[in-house]
């Protein structure tokens, strides 16, 4: 991380950059008032840096590929189906699963800010939060997909879903061909983060790490 070290003059201390100083100031004031606890902040960071990530979403997708009842449930009520796997959002948001088909590819954006299904994908990558993606995903999804190296067949349309604070989307990609003999555990490794945002496709069998 770029701001860990500021200055290597051992006698004269170091300079804090403004952003660091302001965040420390907020934490100090709110801690003094008992509104936040530093240990709770540590725990939140630890959770999102190491525990909550796209593996959870991949488990949901692989289960939908292998369990027709779960797939139906996910389609009808994704919030409940995902909560049944103990993955619930911290912001009380609703989840909707959108299924790719040969006729339609789904892609997710938040044009307003960065609403994203944290509970199943972790925190969004920088590009998802950046102005170019937010501005372009709706306007020219195929050009955006091309930048991600994805070219869709002509007959497949693209539907772009705009997330909000209340509604988050999980793309369920199509199960890759040649995976009929694979177990659910093996399938999980094929489901990339980007394939659940709709800016990528699942890996082919043999291509996963």
């Amino acid at each position: 991380m770029p701001h860990d070290h500021h200055d290597h003059d051992h006698d004269h201390g170091s300079e804090l950059d403004d952003m660091t100083a302001r965040v420390m100031a907020l934490e100090t004031l709110l801690t003094e008032k008992g509104i936040v606890q530093p240990a709770a902040l540590d725990a939140i960071i630890e959770t999102y840096e190491t525990q909550v990530g796209p593996r959870r979403g991949a488990e949901v997708v692989a289960r939908a590929w292998t369990d027709p009842d779960f797939r139906d449930w996910l389609e009808k009520d994704a919030t409940a189906a995902i909560a049944s796997m103990d993955y619930t959002g911290r912001q009380g948001e609703h989840m909707m699963a959108v299924f790719n088909t040969p006729e339609r590819h789904n892609m997710v954006v938040c044009t307003l800010c960065s609403c994203y299904p944290w509970a199943v994908l972790g925190l969004p990558p920088v590009w998802y939060k950046s102005t170019p993606y937010r501005a372009r995903a709706v306007r020219e999804p195929r050009a955006v997909l091309a930048e991600f190296g994805v070219t869709l067949p002509e007959g497949q349309s693209v539907r772009v879903w705009d997330s909000t604070a209340e509604m988050r989307y999980l793309v369920v990609p199509m199960r890759p061909e040649g995976t009929e003999a694979m177990t659910r555990e093996q399938l999980i490794d094929l489901v990339t983060r980007d394939s659940m945002i709709g800016t990528g496709l699942p890996l082919s069998p043999g291509a996963s790490a």
Binding site: H3, G13, L16, A25, I44, L112, C113, V126, T131, A165
Partner: protein, 130 residues
């Protein structure tokens, strides 16, 4: 409409194709993120209100040049995040802007007064005035 109708669109930064990009690009970004999550869970504001204010603040940012790096975009994003948080806390009185300015200045003094390799203590910034 084709892409050619929209000239000079910046390419999307930070496409790595991997799921392993760092969640935060500086420690202060992680801390600012955790403050908002913690305050929301304590009932300080609804997530709907947060997203609306944050989105409005992001919308006022000028677009970064296309040469901007992923780190630049992360910094711009979390700068807006922090500004939104400061607005909320100033308005509800839990961290008025003058108090934040004073505490930030005290942390700066504390850092300058602390030899490298020693933990920076907030108290160390208090003695000096001005």
């Amino acid at each position: 409409m084709t892409a050619c109708d929209i000239p000079a669109l910046p390419r999307i930064p930070g496409i790595t194709g991997s799921d392993t990009e760092p969640r935060f690009h500086a420690p202060w970004q992680a801390r600012a993120f955790a403050l908002v999550v913690s305050l929301h869970e304590a009932g300080a504001f609804s997530w709907t209100d947060w997203a609306a204010a944050f989105g409005a603040r992001l919308g006022r940012d000028t677009a970064l040049p296309s040469a901007a790096t992923t780190e630049d975009h992360a910094a711009q994003y979390f700068t807006a995040w922090l500004a939104t948080l400061e607005d909320f806390l100033n308005r509800d009185g839990s961290a008025p802007a003058p108090a934040v300015d004073a505490a930030a200045a005290q942390w700066q003094r504390a850092a300058r007064a602390t030899p490298h390799g020693t933990p920076v203590l907030y108290e160390r910034g208090a003695a000096e005035t001005g």
